[in-house]
Symmetry: C2
Subunit: 333 residues, 2 copies
């Protein structure tokens, strides 16, 4: 008998197939291969092929837009949103529109075309997280922005159009629906219980254990109770933290360790799958609160989202999270 | 400057790229080809390879599960939900679960393996819609069900695992989030204005014209103001109707004509793209109301949904609906 499970944070139901649960080898996903053909705008020597850099780490005394960097952040050459102008909110008959104002940046995680994020050494991984943090804190000075989302598409099947490993950041003039739903539900829970729902989940999962993948000093990785996707994995801080970008260095270091560990386990269990991850933090201006708990959602691209999902907003997941957690727990990291 | 637009029904924002709008030839979508390899469980003579049929049309005097039918409805051999048992709602610590009770059926739209829904003659298309309707009305007698969703995945990239043209139906014990959001927002609009929001949209779009694709006696096809996907197209009845399954024969006939017309235009403009469509009707037991208006949402599979969409719940659409409507308006049907 399949099971319907409800995610307590988003209130989203998912169908979990329990009878014929899919194991890692049942997915016909395409292994992400780095081909290295052609000229790559994210490699050393091609710095002029991107818009001028915003920040870069590494290469003491190096001139901007020259080789020698470890992590480099540039505006997206084909941005989804434009940085210049005012919002100009308008009604158009029944409808509402505004100018597509926002920042769209690319975090080039390493100059090495052959690396993936999972194969970076710990300290270089940590630098990527510091780049996220620095850019988030800088963009908050722009008062047009209400939310800053960091995300990563790895592999063509997961939407990456350039194979050289990179993350993206989008600053938005609105709080996106997905986040505001999480935030509203977390606020409602807090107003009833005076506890953070994420903290409660972390406590329950650590005690119960069947969906727990790994723990380190400050972070925990778990398969959520009602995941949309097979092998979906969340990384959260163990102590309540409402905004990633305000965490102390020790937590960032723990997070780098845990994310790297999870990406390596996913590579090992699923043979280098395409994946997405997103960083959910509190909206701009609401960074200090007791109800919302920042976290990373990692989603390997194993299934196709089709008519049923588009029509309902709920998901059919062929791998129970207890199974995916077990595979990931037993994997090499 | 890109534009942010808000869908008035779901309150979902989308980013519409207006500068470098993608034209049909800019999408590297894979044309759906019918290969016809191997033994197909949906072809004549293989009726025993599916679970026993629930209903079939055509073939007067034919024995069940033998050739001669025009449309055949069978239980899904690998159902996402189980039909037997009780819901057994439970709490598991913080979490909520219930048994995955539901019906999951397949509507085989034609015995002809080489046909697509778009190439069926009008009267055969109409029979497919009658099969939807009959199954919906029958499943409503099962008091465990609160929503019945009909959807179609066409082509492998759109999630179809069998190439022989077919639709699917899922009966659910809960109203899916997507529908309940539409329904709640439509109810709120009605309580403010005493008008159906969908009726208002149809009126405005017919008068304004830039997103209108086609009209016939009872139906209209349009590109919504804030579509998630390029070339997303909605078909709606012009007169208020809250439940598809209660419409009179004239409307069903008009709908068959309009859907067929749209699928042929999509084939012509986008060279036989993979696509999904979903039928949104009122929840079971709330069929007669003034605020919700049934409709079909058609979505060709042209773009990849990636980290940004999963993280935000909003969408980047590279083709303004005014452009897609113009292409579809000018296409052969």
């Amino acid at each position: 008998m399949p099971e319907l499970r409800k995610d307590p944070i988003t209130q989203r139901w998912v169908i979990i197939s329990t009878d014929r649960a899919k194991r890692p080898s049942d997915f016909s996903t395409s292994r992400v291969e780095i081909r290295g053909n052609g000229i790559c705008p994210f490699c050393y020597g091609n710095e002029s092929k991107t818009p001028p850099e915003i920040i870069a780490y590494g290469g003491n005394g190096r001139a901007p837009n020259t080789p020698g960097w470890n992590v480099r952040v540039v505006p997206n050459k084909f941005p989804a949103l434009g940085i210049e102008g005012s919002l100009d909110r308008q009604g158009v008959g029944l409808f509402d529109r505004m100018n597509g104002i926002g920042a769209h940046e690319v975090i080039i995680e390493t100059p090495d075309h052959q690396s993936t994020l999972a194969t970076l050494p710990h300290d270089r991984f940590e630098q990527v997280l510091w780049a996220y943090r620095d850019r988030m804190n800088d963009l908050k000075n722009d008062h047009r922005f209400r939310y800053i989302l960091v995300f990563k598409n790895h592999g063509e099947a997961a939407g990456a159009s350039i194979e050289h490993t990179h993350s993206q950041l989008i600053a938005l003039a609105i709080v996106p629906k997905q986040v505001s739903e999480e935030e509203e539900n977390a606020r409602r829970y807090f107003s009833q219980k005076e506890r953070c729902i994420f903290c409660d989940i972390v406590r329950q999962e650590c005690a119960e254990g069947s969906r727990l993948v790994a723990e380190n000093e400050h972070c925990v990785a778990l398969a959520p109770y009602a995941p949309r996707f097979p092998f979906e994995t969340w990384v959260l801080p163990k102590q309540h933290g409402s905004a990633f970008e305000n965490e102390p260095a020790a937590v960032v270091s723990s997070l780098a360790d845990m994310m790297r560990n999870m990406l390596r386990r996913l590579d090992s269990v699923l043979d280098h799958p395409p994946y997405n991850y997103v960083l959910h933090t509190s909206p701009v201006g609401e960074e200090r609160n007791d109800h919302y708990h920042w976290h990373i959602e990692m989603m390997p691209t194993l299934t196709k989202v089709a008519g049923f999902e588009w029509g309902t907003g709920f998901y059919i997941n062929p791998t129970p999270p207890e199974e995916s957690a077990r595979f990931l727990r037993e994997a090499e990291s």
